[in-house]
């Protein structure tokens, strides 16, 4: 019998303690980040889709079309092509297509690039009505950015 009342007492007490905690939290300031009105800066290492790095002076991509990124990619999302210009040495990038819809953001491509030609972008809020929009032509994006 005393056990019954003990349990009744401690049980009721625990319920009121719980109410107290939620009430305390109710008076605390909200932690919400109101996204479209305010947004977090992405950390330096945030991994968005990859993008090409342009040469600081010319704006041309640093990529030398070695194809390591393409080879290293687990999901075959990168396809790039280059051609050898007349008289120049080394290849010049003519197209760099990234199928972001298959990417798993593992970073193998960035890691395997010995020339520092690609990096992660900070595009963290992509959304749109067409899935084709996420097959990026990185070369074009680089040119647009340069402008």
């Amino acid at each position: 019998m005393s056990g019954y009342f003990c349990e009744l007492y401690s049980g009721t007490k625990s319920l009121f303690v719980g109410l107290g905690i939620t009430f305390r939290y109710m008076l605390k300031p909200v932690v919400t980040l109101q996204y479209p009105h305010e947004s977090l800066p992405m950390s330096a290492r945030f991994r968005g889709h990859i993008e090409l790095i342009g040469d600081e002076e010319t704006g041309a991509p640093k990529c030398v079309v070695c194809g390591m990124c393409q080879k290293g990619c687990p999901s075959n999302c990168i396809s790039l092509a280059g051609e050898k210009p007349e008289g120049g040495k080394g290849k010049v990038l003519t197209s760099y297509i990234l199928d972001f819809t298959k990417c798993s953001l593992c970073g193998q491509c960035v890691e395997s690039c010995k020339f520092g030609a690609i990096r992660f972008s900070k595009d963290y809020n992509l959304a749109g009505p067409r899935k084709e929009a996420y097959i990026f032509d990185l070369l074009k994006r680089l040119e647009e950015k340069g402008r």
């Binding site: 909200v30 479209p36 009105h37 889709h49 819809t101 953001l105 963290y124 959304a127």
Partner: protein, 165 residues
């Protein structure tokens, strides 16, 4: 895309249509339905930090009958595909679909030659209105997707666009 199977009303009242669109756009109730990794980010979007509730979209209904939008968050395997299809069919019109994450868009990292287990994209099963790429996308991207859907329903965007950077 999702509107294609909506019958057009015989009498069209432009103002009323707009009101309805506003009503629908601002009260998008998603389904409690997660497939894989992205579902966790979906939960995170509903949690305190990002708070999907601000747009009236936090009412996660477990029953497809009461949902407006299905957020396909994760890989659809071939075994799961009929179930997902059923859920879509069970939702009452008007309904929308958001494909969240790369798996739901195209099968994502699980596509390889000779793969036998997954459906390569939710749009193979039913019309998808908004795609959110990422593996998984950040919660902000999901919010962006909801806003994108609202824009699609009402035709205008009420919120500022956020430039990534």
């Amino acid at each position: 895309m999702g509107k294609e199977n909506l019958q057009s009303a015989i009498v069209q009242f432009a103002a009323l249509d707009q009101l309805l669109a506003l009503g629908r756009a601002n009260s998008l109730w998603p389904m409690t339905f997660g497939l894989a990794c992205c579902a966790i980010e979906m939960m995170a979007a509903g949690a305190s930090r990002f708070d999907l509730a601000r747009f009236g979209a936090e009412v996660f209904r477990p029953s497809p009958r009461q949902c407006d939008v299905m957020i396909v968050a994760g890989t659809i395997s071939k075994k799961m595909a009929p179930a997902v299809q059923t859920l879509y069919d069970q939702m009452p019109e008007p309904k929308w679909v958001i494909a969240m994450g790369n798996c739901a868009i195209s099968g994502g990292p699980f596509v390889f030659e000779g793969q036998y287990g997954i459906v390569e994209g939710a749009d193979k099963l039913f019309p998808v209105d908004v795609f959110i790429p990422g593996c998984p996308p950040r919660p902000e991207a999901l919010i962006e997707g909801i806003l994108e859907l609202e824009e699609k329903i009402t035709g205008t965007r009420r919120w500022p666009r956020v430039e990534a950077g």
